[in-house]
Symmetry: C3
Subunit: 321 residues, 3 copies
């Protein structure tokens, strides 16, 4: 199966990654999301698109924030949501993971929102569903290891399109801990597909994976050079908890070298927007003056994130295998 | 902003405290609650007043019991409820608390039910909501530090009115650990506003805050004197976990000096009612014979508590900023 | 009260155990469940039978899996579900347990789904509800200590009836840790009532309770002899966490002596079915080749389990005290 997230008719069957996702599908998700942005503003924020469907939030890695966004999106689509926080220990055996999936399928699950610390876990589940003839059950990858976080990538695309209208004349910089960031990966793939001509990554060499240039990305270790004339700045969260060894000196030194300050922001285009996937480490990767300043679109990202998740789930819910 | 819980039209915008809450609003809440008491008795216990609204239970301090009452009240109003248990650690920085609030507002929250171990946390949030132009989002204080627990205060008022009809001829005694009790504070303010002529607090001097007399409250360290001819006895829970240092000898000695026994209850008026906010420490602040006796109205308090919370939430949900 | 789970009209008031449950009621539950099996297959998997009812999942012993099945069943019946995970510590005092029950009744609970590590806890609650005049509140025992797990017993009966049609010509073997198994107990009582002529238990003597023969059960310590010509094999989970002392050598030795392999399965009738309550310890009590093989009906058990729980809850919800 070359692209396990598409069904035989080329429709979205699972959302596993933005890598290789056709431009038409990306755009369809963004267009659908835009119809949901209004709903969250209404008095009654619900539509019955997933009424009577059973959505399972399978969080093998704890994330109150992401789980909450999917829970809200599901409830606004009128689905029944069941939260399962499954400790890493009981999920350490692949066998046990698939037995869990088998059981939830037997309970007539319609959708799994999966967060897992191991890259590829949602693929393993998708492959298994196909093997056991349960591929009418849909998977949304809510973040797997360092690999992908496609709904974050999509909400970032929605935000950029909202403010910049056209992708084909943009320079976009992603700043920080590229090495550990599934957000960076999902953004780069989506930006490429949508035709962004210049994608830059900025960070210390220790936090840049090898081979970025081959992905068509320009690499900068000097933030001042990297931010020059960009339209969009995507700051990444410094994932202290993921770093092992001496990749970084201290949070203060990181801020000194790579933190986004007003002075650095001034190097970008005057109408550049500042994005961050949250939660922010103020004073580490971003200065509060910038985070709360007029160019930041960090909270609109959150708002669009609900609409994008509603879009993904309702599109999946409308497709069969 | 003198009274941050009222909007410019003098309507309830947030419920933060019973202190300074106008009598008309207090009475309106109690009257509204009385229309909800019947609903919980019906076969279908739901009304659609908050349908499609997103209520977040933000519990920075764990309390299964209080969270449950708000969850039931929300569901009976047909709201979508999302429970967030946020550990004290991640909430220790005020900044992080407000970033959390910003994010939930961006998800189009309609109401926050906030429990926090620090006095004033719900005020900080209310102030912030006004500053960021999000004061269409409503806050219900579900207990902040030693400061206030207004829905408990209101359900106590409901209970007293239910059994005694008129506040203006009552003597009400509050017994126990006044010093650490947000319930005592919320009760005293509400009782004063509703015109109770004599409010007494009874407890060891070490558990009585200074300056009670200036609040118009009579102070007794002798429980037998304090209970003489009262109409209402509100027992407080002995919050062992809150006491630091040697304020108290032992639970047994406390019971000996301040526990409510049948003999002591006989000092009150023959038709006096006995209240307790729960959960009870039987044999510490109250004897089981009294807790389960004919004068106890402790379980009706729980029933009325659901109705009062439904009333508060539906009133807030009907008001804009 | 001879049979505390029946009301004065002989209808199901609580589901506490399969022991002594009249055959007519057992059959009525299975028949009702069969009408629900189709619902979980539909696009909108909900029926409004418990709309507006408040179901409390009271889990004094943690079980994500069982809790999930009841949560799904409740939601598909349109009930409002509130999950309460109550640590063993705060529930160690019987008094505190009953105070919790009193409080939830005062909140107008309609049904308690109770899981408790102590045998008899749901009976204690049922007795208490009768004493306080709250027996319109229904209890479903979701597993109490080593005593009973009646919904598992019922879903096992449903599964057997589905595949074998008639109980009165069957030989059923239950294999493994009989001593610690509430599932075994619930199965044996239900199988007897439904007229199964031969019930066998198979396991090492250290894991067989005394007095099995008096229950009309044939006891085998040799699995090869025990499986001879059986129609139904019910494997039990090896509850490592429950075993204290040296009842068992090692998991490997257990598998060698009592694990269900293809060779051993061949001793049963050619159309014998293999059941397991889950979660399975593959390679301990059951070989993967059998667990995933054509005779296993372990996942259908899960599917039928949702329907059986919906049946029990809807039947209870339709009865008064």
């Amino acid at each position: 199966m070359l692209n396990p997230q598409l069904n035989k008719d080329g429709q979205l069957q699972h959302l596993l990654t933005t890598e290789g996702l056709p431009k038409a599908i990306l755009t369809h998700i963004l267009d659908t999301a835009s119809s949901f942005v209004g709903i969250s503003d209404r008095d009654v924020k619900k539509v019955p698109l997933l009424r009577g469907k059973s959505v399972f939030n399978l969080f093998f890695e704890n994330s109150t924030r992401t789980r909450t966004t999917f829970e809200i999106a599901s409830k606004r689509l009128s689905a029944d949501v069941i939260n399962l926080n499954i400790s890493a220990s009981s999920a350490s055996k692949g066998e046990s993971l698939l037995d869990t999936i088998d059981n939830l399928c037997a309970m007539h699950a319609d959708m799994f929102v999966v967060r897992h610390s191991q890259s590829g876990a949602p693929y393993l589940i998708a492959k298994h569903l196909a093997e056991i003839g349960q591929d009418h059950v849909h998977i949304v990858n809510a973040g797997d290891g360092r690999h992908a976080h496609p709904t974050q990538g999509l909400l970032d695309m929605y935000t950029i399109r909202h403010y910049k209208k056209d992708f084909t004349n943009l320079t976009v910089a992603i700043v920080g801990d590229i090495l550990h960031s599934r957000v960076a990966r999902s953004d780069i793939h989506a930006l490429s597909t949508l035709g962004v001509p210049e994608i830059r990554v900025i960070g210390p060499y220790t936090l840049l994976p090898a081979g970025m240039e081959q992905m068509g990305v320009r690499v900068f270790s000097d933030i001042n050079a990297g931010l020059k004339d960009v339209d969009v700045i995507i700051m990444l969260r410094l994932q202290n908890e993921r770093m092992t060894g001496a990749l970084l000196p201290t949070a203060q030194e990181f801020f000194k070298s790579y933190g986004l300050t007003a002075e650095r922001l001034a190097l970008a285009k005057p109408d550049a927007i500042v994005m961050h996937p949250g939660p922010m480490n103020r004073g580490v990767e971003i200065d509060s003056a910038v985070a709360d300043g007029p160019q930041a679109v960090i909270l609109p990202q959150v708002t669009f994130g609900i609409a994008v998740r509603m879009a993904v789930m309702s599109i999946l819910g409308g497709h069969s295998a």
